[in-house]
Symmetry: C2
Subunit: 206 residues, 2 copies
Amino acid sequence: MKRIADSTVRRLSIYLRFLEDFEKRGIATISSDELAARGGTTSAQVRKDLSFFGSFGKRGLGYSVAELSARLRQILGLEREWQVIIIGAGKIGAALAQYHGFAQRGFRIVAVYDSDPAKVGRSVDGLVIRPLSSLPDEAKRQPPDIAVLAVPATAAQEVADMVVKSGIRAILNFAPHQLQVPESVAVKAVNMAMELEGLSFALTNG
Amino acid sequence: MKRIADSTVRRLSIYLRFLEDFEKRGIATISSDELAARGGTTSAQVRKDLSFFGSFGKRGLGYSVAELSARLRQILGLEREWQVIIIGAGKIGAALAQYHGFAQRGFRIVAVYDSDPAKVGRSVDGLVIRPLSSLPDEAKRQPPDIAVLAVPATAAQEVADMVVKSGIRAILNFAPHQLQVPESVAVKAVNMAMELEGLSFALTNG
DNA sequence: GGTAACTTGTGAAGAAATTCACAAGTTCAA
DNA sequence: TTGAACTTGTGAATTTCTTCACAAGTTACC
């Protein structure tokens, strides 16, 4: 299969969100044009994105909302539940643990870790914070799919190395630090400082 | 001036972070190759990115760390302080308000708003939560530069409209909703669900 | 059945971003 | 002063991504 661009996957995610919205509102079919209008793209882009995976539409009619959203969930791997661990029980980590939107989309938070002994043993949203040092062993017994890194930038690489060694193959990184990982490990970064700087640039050079 | 690609601006942000790190460690010069290695890109990319703004390096030597980071700060508009407001004092909004990393980089949180009367009047990190309805008036008197949206997806568009009407020209959107705004307004989205779905896709099709 | 109005799927064209490759400048040491 | 070792800046080549444009299929209606 041809390599799928990152930008394409991001858009699929956006399309899926609209489709779920349409599904709730009982709309049965939708055209690439309507989908594009809401996603801030073009109908050709929508069709091209989908064409990488097959042809799901009907000429003259558009796409079945139910069918396309099911296919997108399948393509994105959202038919199964993913086991997620959060590392770092500070402000951000705790907020993430308490945010139930993830579970709704099939990302189940199964554990929270921290290296600070003062935090270990406390609870966040019903989950007891565990010592980070126990991660490798626990991951061996019950391998998590995704590790969310909510640790200070200075600790990020070290923690990432530990995560990778523990056999976890996907990382969502909130630390403002560019992680170095083997290419078999998928990393996505959520970097608020970078986004703010992007806005700063836009305001300055707009 | 030629329009600068988003990806370029993001990389400038990354370069700047490394440069600041080098600055602290007292390293005086750095080559595009070293900068690239840490940023996960190539030296040609680094040089091309910088070339849009001028030539800051010395052949045979590389770049002066102090000079280049000063130039990047200037390019990114980080020499001044930006006034930021947070809308939504829920889990995410509160965590952001308490996260002091922003202030350190020149993004000063000046107010927190919420539309829930039960939350209005309480304090988050020393800031009293204000009623969202007062935003337009207060923005007139003291215009904020950036609005951070930490509201539910269902309210996001409405709040964004209000923000735009209040004259704010940059939005950092945490709500999982594609905002429709005039193109004079800069929007960056931080969409954790989308990133997780990107990881899901990578794990499924890797 | 015929035709008007839609809409998809997709090669081809076009635009944009990245990488290549090398002339030209700098440093250092002998 | 010369030469070796670096490194930048940038047109050109290449690759990647997006948009165009249209044949082909579908529906609705008379």
